[in-house]
Amino acid sequence: MDKKDLTLRRSKQLRFLGNELFFLGPTLVFFVGIILLAFALSIGYSFTDWNGVTNEVHFVGLENFKKLLTDRGYWNAFGFTFRYAVAAVILNNVLGLILALMITSLKRGTNFYRTTIFIPYAMSAFVLGFIWRFIFIKGFPVIGELTGLSFFSQKWLGTPSTAYWGLVIMSVWKHVGYVMVIYIAGLATVPEDILEASCVDGATALQQIFRIKLPMLMPSVTVCLFMSINWAFNIFDMNLSMTAGGPYNTTMSVSLNIYYEAFKYFKNGYATAKALLFFLVVALISILQTRLTSKREVDL
């Protein structure tokens, strides 16, 4: 009797393990082998002077991190990325919300508007960067001539401040559709009866928006803020193709700075240290943001 129980239990355990391996195995092989391993290696390499090409790797302790603290270019990039993120996140969410409110107020044509505003998101950021470069360098001056507005005729990608706005404009054009879709869905969860009751009580449309719709939208706001902050801090593709950090490294994002450090100057160890610090900052901001906005979510 005992022996039978034992072999039964053993075979059950084996079957369980077999299933575990089958269902989790492939995913874990790639997840651990690529993400976790790369992350661990990153931490390791950040303490070396590896140049990414040869096999010469020397341990340098905290040298890289000390160098970080005084690296002007890196901190300028951080500053730029931060300023860019503030503008992009605010514009994305405010415009996305306004567009969502406008679209939900209509009955017909919503699909068309929603789709057209969303389409830029489906396109390659890298490829679009070239197109927008063309628009800013050649297209805007033409509009400037036609309309006589000097706003369009300035050297958009030639001065730091306008190049900054150029990037913000392009980024918002690309991302606002996604944010808008989330807000549209969030607005759909606002119960009709509450809105009707407020109408009966004499609420204006604006009051409805600020007192009812917005508080109930906080979950969507949490998600949208999280995503737009992520997009903004991780900007790379369109930065590279539209400005390549120019003019004179004034539109250099952190990702671009790290990329150049590794592939132009061949300082992989140093670049990895930069990347890890970048990761810590982004993670911290994301966690703070989710905590903050989750608290303000309203339950019915």
Partner: protein, 274 residues
């Protein structure tokens, strides 16, 4: 009456905004048929003649067809693996509650915060060590690694809303875990799979940095990489570039328009859940 005026105004504003949004595509599409000079002289107007020379030149100069094939292979290969492996994992993590599974799920969620630059440099090292550097399969494996986190989270979130009754019934009838998964669970996952497929196609087809790091041989380049050539080596050939951009955009556009129901619904529900 005021409501009607309000609606008309809203419609007008939205139409103007939609037109502005489409403007870059309009310029690019028309530009792809224009000669190099005409692009600069006549940005917004219709081309003098609808010639396809830009397109034919692009296909030759940057070996566009090969790039297209590479992008397709990478995208399709990555998608198959991501969908299959992640759905299996999400099912297992959700239906069998152990501490390990909870920890793994948390790990997947947490990994999504790691920015790509923190991983890209060792990635090259890993790929060369297993001899998959400059190899399409290496890129596909990389996408498996990067894509599973989001996919698992999406499938997990969806499966949470599905009661396990059908699966339990199947298992009572003698179906194994594996059988239950493939026969009962997978068909249920179609909407989430559709959303994931569109999101991942948008990501993988349009990606520049990952293929740029792992593929240096021109024969292996993907479409975005090929397009970047038009700017380094041929000194901003905008005429060719516009044709190339149109060729790059069209496939994703078709997929997106065909599946837009799913992706828009998926983004919406996925976000409401968190």
């Amino acid at each position: 009456m005021r409501r009607l005026i309000g609606k008309i105004v809203t419609c007008l504003i939205l139409t103007v905004i939609a037109a502005i949004f489409l403007l870059p595509f309009y310029i690019t599409l028309l530009g792809s048929f224009k000669s190099y000079q005409e692009i600069f002289l006549n940005i917004f107007g219709l081309p003098e003649s609808w010639s396809l020379t830009n397109y034919t030149e692009v296909v030759q100069k940057i070996d566009f067809l090969t790039a297209f094939r590479n992008s397709f292979v990478i995208t399709a290969g990555s998608l198959c693996g991501i969908v299959l492996f992640s759905s299996m994992t999400a099912y297992r993590l959700l239906r069998i509650r152990t501490r390990l599974h909870r920890a793994l799920y948390f790990l997947f969620v947490a990994s999504m915060v790691i920015p790509f630059p923190a991983l890209m440099l060792p990635l090259v090292r890993i790929m060369s060590t297993i001899n998959l550097y400059n190899n399409l399969l290496g890129v596909i494996f990389a996408y498996y690694g990067f894509g599973t986190a989001l996919a698992v989270v999406l499938f997990y979130g969806f499966l949470k809303t599905v009661p396990a009754s059908m699966e339990e019934a199947a298992m009572v009838d003698g179906c194994s875990h594996i059988g239950t998964f493939f026969r009962i669970v997978m068909p249920m996952l179609k909407p989430t799979t559709a959303t994931l497929v569109v999101l991942d196609i948008i990501w993988i087809w349009n990606d520049y940095l990952l293929p740029a790091i792992l593929l240096t041989r021109t024969k292996l380049h993907t479409v975005p990489l090929a397009i970047s050539y038009l700017f380094d080596q041929f000194n901003s050939r905008w005429d060719l570039a516009m044709a190339a951009v149109v060729l790059c955009i069209v496939p994703v556009l078709i997929v997106f328009l065909a599946f837009q129901k799913y992706i828009i619904a998926g983004i919406a529900t996925g976000s409401v859940k968190g």
